[in-house]
Symmetry: C2
Subunit: 457 residues, 2 copies
Amino acid sequence: MTTEKIPYKIYLEEHEMPTHYYNLRADMKKKPAPLLNPGTGQPLTFEEMQPIFCDELIKQELDDETQNVPIPQEIRDFYKMYRPSPLVRAYCLEERLDTPAKIYYKFEGNNTSGSHKLNSAIAQAYYAKQQGLKGITTETGAGQWGTALSMACSYFQLDCKVYMVKVSYEQKPFRREVMRTYGASITPSPSDTTNIGRKILEEFPGTTGSLGCAISEAVEVATTNEGYRYVLGSVLNQVLLHQSIIGLETKTAMDKYGIKPDMIIGSAGGGSNLGGLIAPFMGEKLRGEADYQIIAVEPASCPSFTRGKYVYDFADTGKVCPLAKMYTLGSGYIPAPNHAGGLRYHGMSPILSEIYDQGLMEARAVAQTDVFEAAEEFARVEGILPAPESAHAIKVAIDEAKKCKETGEEKTIVFGLTGTGYFDLVAYQKYNDGVMDDYVPTDEEIAASLATVPQIG
Amino acid sequence: MTTEKIPYKIYLEEHEMPTHYYNLRADMKKKPAPLLNPGTGQPLTFEEMQPIFCDELIKQELDDETQNVPIPQEIRDFYKMYRPSPLVRAYCLEERLDTPAKIYYKFEGNNTSGSHKLNSAIAQAYYAKQQGLKGITTETGAGQWGTALSMACSYFQLDCKVYMVKVSYEQKPFRREVMRTYGASITPSPSDTTNIGRKILEEFPGTTGSLGCAISEAVEVATTNEGYRYVLGSVLNQVLLHQSIIGLETKTAMDKYGIKPDMIIGSAGGGSNLGGLIAPFMGEKLRGEADYQIIAVEPASCPSFTRGKYVYDFADTGKVCPLAKMYTLGSGYIPAPNHAGGLRYHGMSPILSEIYDQGLMEARAVAQTDVFEAAEEFARVEGILPAPESAHAIKVAIDEAKKCKETGEEKTIVFGLTGTGYFDLVAYQKYNDGVMDDYVPTDEEIAASLATVPQIG
């Protein structure tokens, strides 16, 4: 433990970087529910997943027992190019808020994908390469995951086929160009390159696409082309496993300076960033070694935790994927246009859903305009322009720091700053122009969507 | 000196960060030529500059003697938020090139302005605040400088008025929104808010503006509004002084690991990044303590060093600014459309011009398409998507590393990676689509432009 003044940014040395991922499931007494085959209603087996996913990733998906999973050297070498990410002491924000709270954030935006997504993308590309595959397929909406996967595939010289929701493909040409620069092929979805795409185009000629449709196309291409598999950037157990690097680095950095957080805050969409950030802390909590207040923050327009149900549901809108037990708003739920595209998923990671159900974590839903107000306040003192997704955590961190000012408590607050907002300036413009709205679904709308959830489990 | 293996990224500890700027002029036997008053042809005095610039910055501009200038604590605190910037060992690039060369780059893009510009912006904003000013004015073309200054002003709660070349204002709405998010007011230039702007609009109603015109408007607003001054982001001695932080950090990091560079490479537009990067190394060279090969890289479309003349010329197209002795293509030179907007300046920093004239530095001009090819090669192995400006240095670093492969020499190459290309994706798209051109001016065009240079000095 170092006793010097805590620096603005804590960087780990290379030799202090994690050598193993931490598998939170190993410490959970009640495990998250398994994925089910929608045809049989039975847990999916390794063999059933093999045509779709890479072998090693299926093993990780199914492994509820191994606590520490070694990170292969090739992945660790790639991590050294953009990690460790800094744990930042927000001295300037504290001063502006005039709060006794001590605020830290783990900043994952210092890489070209602009977010934490690269942590799992490089692992998934590595395992595909190890298996001798030619390439991988995926879908992308806002484009962060697609960018991360393009970067990872270009590093391992794997082919990368990205199905991008057509409306995003047209409205976010710059995201598309970044992926092309990394050598990926980007197809607007629905497309005439797949059976499902052609069928959808025939039925709905003017459609601008959906994530569900893009998933269906990416899965079809993976399963019908020799040497290809499909990969996914959030929700799955394997993704949370890879993202544990965020929490492990955070904990090592804090331990080094003898800092113990009182509160850990993260934005929650599919749950991969939050699950990664809290993993080692939640592990201590599960083992009874320490206690932390943990808060998931979601948009009020897509409130899976705070207004959803904990049941089996389809993982995708198109209902081609397995069933997952999770907090869900129903796979047909269409959130109001919200600029945090990464948080518009109808469900939530099964691991986090089980944790939340056990009462080990809180959740809060916040309105879009409040989120951008917090984003701007943060940007002006801390310099970094946050992604709208990340700003959900900022909003609650600022709220809590203000409470500390009222009560005089010197709480230590840590939040995850998952990425940068350079590709979200249409949203900032709406906020700057005062024309952003804050639609919140009615109880009737949520009930109607939940009525479509299959009756299983 | 540490003997462990050199890490991928060398970060300095906070206590190792520079406490003083280094003023290269103090070690130059023949000093750079002073700025001249275009009316009198005499060196500009402190008093003549006072209505336009902040007092402390004028002192820095005129000070050829003080070797080490203390960095005020407030500026050092701000630097701690985004500095030290990493000195990266390009292990992956070396492997891909199969070169015995050891390649390092100093990466200045990890802040929201996306470039090194913030280093001087925060210093200039600080001195304006210290002087009790209400605000500052500036012009911006591509927008990096305007963004950096907006961030700096928001931190010190100063008003910031940016005149943005109209065509950029319209074509780069996202840059504009970043500045607005930081609270700056952005006016497309020419505008009806100034006399000079109204005059130009009357004469040329359809004009899309120019940097020269934006400078004129920003200077008019600064000199006609109580409590305002004008600031500039490159070329000036004071800016190179602030940017010396880049070179000082680089040298400290290399010394720590006992690394001695053979070659230092930087992109050159107005010269602030290159001047900052090489400052302490050039100091050693001037004092006879060490020798380094130093290479300035400029676009073939705007070749001030390689095809310009070393004479007194106007610093701006509108001829309202002082005369500077520098390598210039003539203040009326209009470079062919090149996507490295930051390198399209007709002249070059007086300090670097004098250094180059003394034969202490080489210069190379490179074609745009070659630059983007290098940018893409770099991005795919090192992860970072570089700004087109920065990629000029990458191009020459890769060329030199390939030469080392042929000769078997284990040279140590350092280059400046000044920024990221997230706002340059229109350019990457042109490159990806194969429709980028490489216009190089004819000798006749350059001669015609140089004929307009005033006959002074």
